[in-house]
């Protein structure tokens, strides 16, 4: 009895936390109850992308996508769809544009506009099965590189492709490899940076959880070119599932002979180990990462010398991001020329983005470089939810800047984003609507950077703190004239004098929001006003006497008892004691409590 259906259950971390295990278990049970085990195979895959719709199921060969599946829905899916061929309509995706139900997952805009290279296997294969990886051309590139190409030829393909580092800086990958290859050293290393610490970024996690072998293969090819025989993948400890899947993949790869000695009988030896972080964002910086692997405090050091020349234990080390390595095998298989045809003049290939915040379709999206921000946010992201508008997007996390909607027609590539004062970064895209206060957001990112600073250099350790103190005052209604200029001066100084990338880019969110939203800063300082109604100290709650029905509900819910009034007497909030918790606003059934900002 041959299989006739493959049921893919997304088991990325997002869907897992939404209950995909219960759904999978229910599927197994229901299929057994109906005697369909031989015909239907259930596969747990890595992240399929549309996290907002999770738990997600994809049925092949029908290519039907079911969203927000609960274990109670499984009975219907098996009975109606698997047994009778009728897709369960209520679980299908409904297009926000046309209001039509879309069955086939490739017709859903979210998937239609993507071009999956890095994410090709994610959500398609069982990440714990090396055989499935092999079925989809796995390890063919490594075999080809080792047995049919010499190191120079492989390096040439990478050069032709135009691949640039995907960790954020965009340094040409072939150059990094070349420097490490040419460096003097009796021992060399390849390291993969999987310490994805940017808030709002989960691309690397999804690749490792959904397709770990692609990273292993990429690293092996890099090691071959460089002349390394040992590699490390540094994964942050907050990703336990990714660590588990990676360890299994390495074990399987060793068993099949893709790691170890004399791979493909070419004389090339390569071994790989996982190294775990312990909760320090700065360890995403390459020199700090190296120190962490060496068992020390994760503090960066000035460069030069660059890791290519002097890295792990003082030896030449090639350090690349997960996504960079994940592109390598495709370039070797299809050629650098093929890759260079995708994207823009300066930025080739695709980029994986993680969409979050005030956006309908949160999740992962891989698009060719050159796609505009508008297409990413609206066509793929589905725009803002519930009739809000997106006023800006934050690109590049705590090192990046915001881009306002006037610039949404900008094509995404390294240079065009830097010109706007933002940064490609690792790929995190946080959408912000009119309900977001840009000053508060800048303070947020600054707080993060200040906390994560390793403390070694004064500009970062002291400077960021000083910037934070000023921002904090502003959000509390204590802003003074000249504060904006102070922030800019401090920020620009820190950028020039900090020791490592963390300090050098930490002022970006502040400088960028001042550049595009100076008005919001001005309002906070001069008018004590927070337009988005976020900064609590700038809010005032008062009761409109005409609407008040004197029901005492607000007074009962006031945690500090500052509402005066009784049944039949119009209530009043005593402003001096008010802690602006908003309880009265939430509970009033007559909309008599008004929330306002600015001079009262």
């Amino acid at each position: 009895m041959a299989q006739r259906l493959n049921v893919l259950v997304c088991s990325g971390a997002s869907c897992l936390s939404s209950g995909s295990i219960d759904v999978k278990d229910a599927l197994i049970e229901e299929i057994e109850n109906n005697g369909l085990e031989e015909e239907i195979k259930i596969i747990e895959t890595g992240c399929m992308g549309p996290c907002e719709l999770g738990p997600v199921i994809l049925v092949y060969p029908d290519e039907i996508l079911y969203k927000k599946v609960k274990k109670e829905d499984v009975k219907d899916i098996v009975e109606q769809h698997f047994l009778k061929g009728r897709p369960v309509e209520r679980l299908l995706y409904k297009s926000t544009e046309t209001e039509k139900l879309i069955k086939k997952h490739e017709e859903i805009d979210y998937f239609k506009k993507q071009k999956k290279i890095v994410l090709r296997n994610c959500g398609m294969i069982d990440p714990e099965s090396i055989e499935e990886y092999i079925a989809l051309d796995g390890y063919e590139a490594l075999g080809k590189a080792l047995t049919e190409m010499n190191k120079e030829k492989v390096l040439k393909e990478i050069e032709t492709s135009g691949l640039r580092g995907r960790g954020g800086a965009g340094f040409p990958t072939h150059l990094k490899w070349k420097f490490t290859k040419d460096a003097d050293g009796d021992k060399k290393y390849v390291v993969c940076n999987a310490d994805e610490g940017d808030p709002g970024a989960f691309m690397d996690r999804s690749v490792i959880e959904g397709d770990p072998h692609t990273v292993i293969e990429g690293m092996a090819i890099a090691a071959y070119v460089i002349g390394a025989d040992m590699g490390y993948i540094y994964v942050r400890a907050e990703y336990p599932l990714a660590i588990e899947r990676l360890r299994k993949a390495i074990k399987d790869a060793k068993e099949y002979g893709f790691l170890g000695e004399n791979i493909f009988e070419s004389g090339f030896n390569f071994d790989l180990e996982v190294r775990i972080g312990a909760g320090a964002f700065v360890c995403g910086e390459e020199t700090a990462l190296i120190h962490s692997i060496e068992g020390k405090r994760g503090t960066p050091r000035p460069r030069p010398p660059y890791p290519s020349v002097e890295g792990l234990w003082g030896k030449p080390t090639n350090l690349n991001n997960v996504e960079t390595y994940a592109n390598v095998r495709h370039i070797i298989l299809k050629g650098g020329n093929w890759f260079s045809k995708i994207g823009t003049e300066s930025s080739k290939g695709t980029k994986v983005f993680a969409l979050s915040g005030d956006i309908t379709n949160t999740g992962l999206a891989e698009v060719p470089m050159g796609t505009t921000i508008k297409e990413l946010i609206y066509d793929i992201g589905g725009g803002a939810p519930e009739g809000k508008t997106i006023k800006a997007v934050q690109l590049g996390g705590p090192s990046g800047g915001c881009i306002t909607h006037e610039y949404f027609d900008t094509p995404i590539d390294y240079e065009s984003l830097t010109e706007l004062g933002a940064m490609m970064g690792s790929g995190g895209v946080i959408a912000m609507s009119e309900d977001t206060c840009m000053v508060n957001t800048a303070k947020f990112f600054l707080d993060f950077n200040t906390f994560e600073s390793c403390g070694k250099c004064t500009p970062c350790r002291v400077g960021l703190k000083q910037m934070y103190v000023i921002l904090d005052r502003i959000t509390k209604g204590e802003g003074e004239t000249g504060d904006i200029d102070r922030l800019v001066e401090l920020g620009e100084n820190i950028k020039k004098t900090a020791l490592c990338g963390l300090g050098q880019t930490a002022p970006n969110p502040v400088l960028s929001t001042i550049r595009y939203f100076r008005n919001e800063y001005r309002q906070h300082i001069e008018e004590k006003k927070c337009q988005a109604m976020v900064c609590t100290d700038l809010l005032t709650y008062y009761i409109e006497p005409d609407k008040c029905k004197a029901c005492t509900l607000c007074a009962q819910n006031c945690p500090v008892d500052v509402i005066e009034g009784e049944r039949g007497v119009v209530h009043e909030i005593q402003q001096e004691g008010c802690i602006k918790c908003g309880n009265c606003y939430d509970v009033c059934p007559f909309d008599a409590v008004v929330k306002t900002t600015g001079e009262f």
Binding site: A280, G295, G428
Partner: protein
């Protein structure tokens, strides 16, 4: 597993420090590394105690103070913040009766804030030990806490 056994699993190399610290912490029912532990590790690896302490204190996931049986880490990064993690924090503080960084008197729960957990698609999110919980609402949070209290998880 006793402490000596853990040490014997690792070669006497300085770069094993972080892993040994992780293992000692996981073995301790109060999820932390004691002063004695650190001295033991220092002796084993041939490092000064200050180096071990310096490294342990650098990393936010290693604790030198006793913590509860279950560590609750609430993500407070922008995507979660935008989706209401502040409200979830209030609920947690209410339910547990403690502030961030503190442990409940019965040593069951410790409340911590964490950096982005990478599941922004289902914000707001919290991690309890190694399990991740997303799409949090006050109701869900209360249920999760109750389940852990009853030992259901």
């Amino acid at each position: 597993m006793k402490k000596e056994e853990i040490l014997r699993n690792y070669e006497k190399r300085k770069d094993n420090l972080l892993y040994i610290l992780h293992d000692f912490q996981d073995m301790n029912p109060y999820n932390y590394v004691t002063d004695d532990d650190m001295q033991l590790i220092a002796d084993y690896l041939g490092l000064p105690y200050s180096k071990v302490y310096g490294t342990a204190s650098f990393y936010s996931m290693i604790s030198e103070k006793p913590r509860g049986k279950h560590i609750i880490r609430l993500c407070d990064s922008p995507p979660c913040h935008l989706m209401g993690s502040v409200d979830i924090l209030d609920v947690l503080k209410d339910e547990l009766g403690i502030k961030v960084g503190e442990t409940t008197p019965d040593m069951t729960f410790t409340l911590e804030k964490t950096a982005c957990l990478g599941v922004c698609g289902v914000a707001p999110v919290m991690m309890v030990d190694e399990e991740i919980y997303g799409n949090l609402t006050p109701k869900k949070v209360k249920k999760i806490i109750a389940d852990y209290k009853e030992g259901k998880k």
